[in-house]
């Protein structure tokens, strides 16, 4: 199967902080891949790196981004504008604030159309896409505040697929929705993969949701990928101590009446990253070597993991 996106050894940051380190993964055509991790671990930054919309004070320090076989790392703004919303589009956690409150849904979807076609044709296309994501044609004339959270997210999705992209970046698209609406949105995304042959990078903090939606997943912690591989393998047999903890905290793992477990300690701040493994301060299986050195990625039975538990392979 052909890969559509490939990140090669990406580091993002500035002189003071490194937000992302050695990010490397690929997305296959027509597949969903999940990126899992706590808030502030660099999941959203990874997405923003792909479309090159990083905050002004951050930049790509090293590594390459390949999209459909082309290196887009140093592509100029004008060409990136063609790709953004065209071949790669993005949906967000809170559709209510990511939709402009002063324009109708129809207007906001229509303005994104890249093809130079007549206004009536554009409208027709918007109507078609609205129907496809399960909204009535009436929504075309409505403003964001007149829609429910689920409908707003559907409108966002309609907006993102209007140019038939090949890659959809989904930044926690179901977090602000209630569970039934969230599942409807997930099913819609899964349908899109089949009907449009879209690939999706699905960012979430919920590892069980990741297993449900995608065949492969990536677990991130403090800007590095700690574990990556097939979702079922990772879920049933997590290798990295952090992944183990994440799965251990899931609600379905509790007996009735048991106190909710958390991961001891806090997510490390990017300002004072340790030299060694960033998870070291919270890890229960730490060794002496973990403090001073960052482990290298090693592959164990189709899952790659960065932990000294599985041998002393360190970053040179």
């Amino acid at each position: 199967m052909k890969e559509i996106l490939k990140l090669e050894d990406i580091s993002v940051g500035n002189e003071e902080v490194k937000i992302l380190r050695d990010i490397e993964f690929e997305v296959k055509k027509g597949e969903i891949i999940s990126v899992v991790g706590e808030s502030g671990c660099g999941k959203s930054m990874t997405l923003r790196t792909i479309i090159k919309l990083l905050p002004k004070n951050l930049k790509i320090l090293k590594g390459r981004v390949y999209f459909e076989g082309i290196d887009i790392t140093d592509l100029d703004e004008e060409k990136m504008k063609e790709i953004r919303g065209g071949k790669i589009s993005i949906i967000f956690q809170e559709p209510s604030s990511y939709l402009n409150p002063l324009f109708t849904i129809g207007n906001q979807i229509e303005e994104g159309i890249k093809d130079r076609i007549k206004k009536e044709e554009k409208k027709e296309r918007v109507m078609k896409i609205l129907k496809e994501v399960g909204l009535s044609e009436n929504v075309y004339y409505q403003y964001p505040h007149q829609l429910s959270g689920g409908m707003q997210q559907r409108a966002m999705i309609a907006m993102s697929i209007i140019n038939k992209p090949s890659l959809l970046l989904a930044d926690e698209p179901t977090t602000s929705l209630d569970i039934t609406t969230a599942f409807e949105i997930l099913n819609l995304l899964k349908d899109l993969v089949i009907s449009h042959n879209i690939s999706i990078i699905f960012v979430t903090h919920d590892i069980s949701l990741a297993r449900f939606i995608s065949k492969e997943m990536i677990v991130m912690y403090a800007g590095i990928i700690v574990e990556k591989g097939f979702s079922n393998l990772i879920y049933s047999n997590p290798l990295h101590p952090y992944t183990k903890k994440l799965i251990d905290c899931l609600p379905e793992k509790y007996n009735k009446g048991e106190r909710i477990r958390t991961i001891e300690g806090e997510v490390i701040s990017f300002k004072n990253l340790p030299n060694g493994c960033p998870f070291y301060p919270r890890c229960e299986e730490k060794k002496e070597i973990c403090e001073g050195f960052l482990p290298k990625e090693i592959e164990i039975e189709n899952v790659s993991v960065r932990c000294f538990k599985y041998g002393d392979f360190m970053e040179s």
């Binding site: 990136m80 604030s97 990511y98 907006m159």
Partner: protein, 321 residues
Amino acid sequence: MRKFIIRRLIQFIPLLIGMTFISFLIIQLAPGDYFTQLKMNPEISPETIENMKKNFGLDKPVIIQYFYWLRNIFTFNLGESFSYHVPVSYLIKIRLKNTISLSIFSIFLTWIISIPFGIYGAVNDKKFHEKLLSFLAYIGISLPSFFIAMLLIFFISKTAVLPLGGTRSIFYENATYFERFLDYMKHLLTPGLVLTISGIGSLYRLMKNNFLESLNSPYIFTAYAKGLPTWKIYFKHALRNAINPMITIFGYELSGILSGAGLVEIITGWPGMGRLILEGVLSFDLYLVMASLLIGGILLIFGNLFADILLALVDPRIRLR
């Protein structure tokens, strides 16, 4: 929408009555009146003063006086000025025209300058030339308008580029219509510039901050992620959201048309309402003060209504059906 406007217009009537009633009471219950000064004058006999009081209806209780005044208002009679001995409406007519043209001129100039500069400042935030603009804006905000007026008057009197004081030059009588207009505008320029300079700073900062806030909003990120051209992101998505809070401020500015320029009018010698009101208040000229308060109140209410209508047109969230 029409229902909303009609309802608001009906609400105005009790509001205006309440407002004028309280003003009337405050003026009349304050110690001293127009006749206190006349009584000091030994040439005016107490009988004359009593007669004058009767003529103006001031020998009756305050409440009755108010209702007399209110009745006259509904017949468009604003009463007679004590000190000028002419109808108040006659006094106000010319002055009102001058004040309104001054206010509209300065508001127009202020907005037409500060809005684009505000956008420019927000887009170039934290760069050197933006810091320079902000610095200038701070100077504009901190200098009181009367001081700016004095500086400008000093400059003009030294260079004689513009006429000072009044609305007409000597040649006015023999001038053509166009020359008269030009002459009027030249006279208007001094107080107009003072008001503009003192207003630009704060409006620039407001617009800059609004635009900046809107540029940092999530929906702007969406617009970037859609690959929209930059001008469309600025002038469609950011501008519409940034202009929203400005509309409320615009409404307030309209309500200040009458009284906002008072101090500057007095200093630059512009014969507007400001000076008339000040004189009226100082000499307890009851009906003159009441008339200007009434006009001010009406302008305030209409300014707010105008802002509400504009806001409803721009923002679908507060649009009433």
